[in-house]
Assembly symmetry: C2
Homo-oligomer: 132 residues x 2
């Protein structure tokens, strides 16, 4: 993965290694603030702006992806563990939605508009059973 970086003229710096390690360790969506705390516990001098830049770079590389679960800050995770979400806009309860839930929508969007959906970027809001 680091050599993938180098192949594009990028460099495998300490802050990038650590950031990747942190992302591998935490198999969940992490806000930039959380990632920064984890990285800085191992290398205190890594600046927040460096984390932002590295996240951007790794995302361009296709290694990681970000997701918006509601109104708060974006969250990041490994691209391989990205998935869609259902989020209750009342209580905040969250469900991780497998891709087949979106099969119907994907087919309809393609037939009607030639559009290929990627439902992982923004959560689908709504109401959970309790809040409906």
């Amino acid at each position: 993965m680091l050599s993938l970086l180098r192949a594009r003229g990028g460099r495998a710096t300490a802050s990038r290694r650590i950031l990747l390690e942190v992302l591998f360790d935490s198999h969940d969506h992490r806000s930039v603030e959380e990632l920064a705390a984890a990285v800085q516990s191992r290398a205190p001098d890594v600046h927040l702006s460096t984390i932002y830049r590295n996240l951007e770079e790794l995302e361009e590389l296709g290694v990681i992806a970000h997701t918006h679960l509601g109104h708060g800050p974006a969250t990041y995770q490994l691209a391989t563990s990205a998935h869609a979400h259902l989020l209750c806009e009342r209580c905040g309860r969250r469900y991780e939605a497998p891709a087949e839930l979106f099969a119907g929508l994907a087919r309809a969007a393609r037939q009607r508009y030639g559009f290929t959906i990627d439902p992982r970027h923004f959560a689908i809001l709504g109401r959970c059973a309790e809040c409906a």
Copy 2:
């Protein structure tokens, strides 16, 4: 609609009338910046913070709704004209998606999680035919 406001102890002020008029006139999603420009062309002294507060109030009343089409600022429209969107994350092309496109997802989410989706709040990202 203004009497609906008054019924809840609210007041029908000039800035609210104008804001509602602007929203009725523009049958489309409008950013707060655009709404502010339109309101201020009729009443220059209306402050941006007043527009934000009025939008919040009218939204609580259920009269209007906001939508996120991508990474930019939120957009507002009359609640009656709210609908879902497909947005190409490459070129920005936008499709307005009728509710029946989401019928399958709505059914699956309800069966599996008891979750009632409201797909109008966040757009579904993806790739249009040209960009796929």
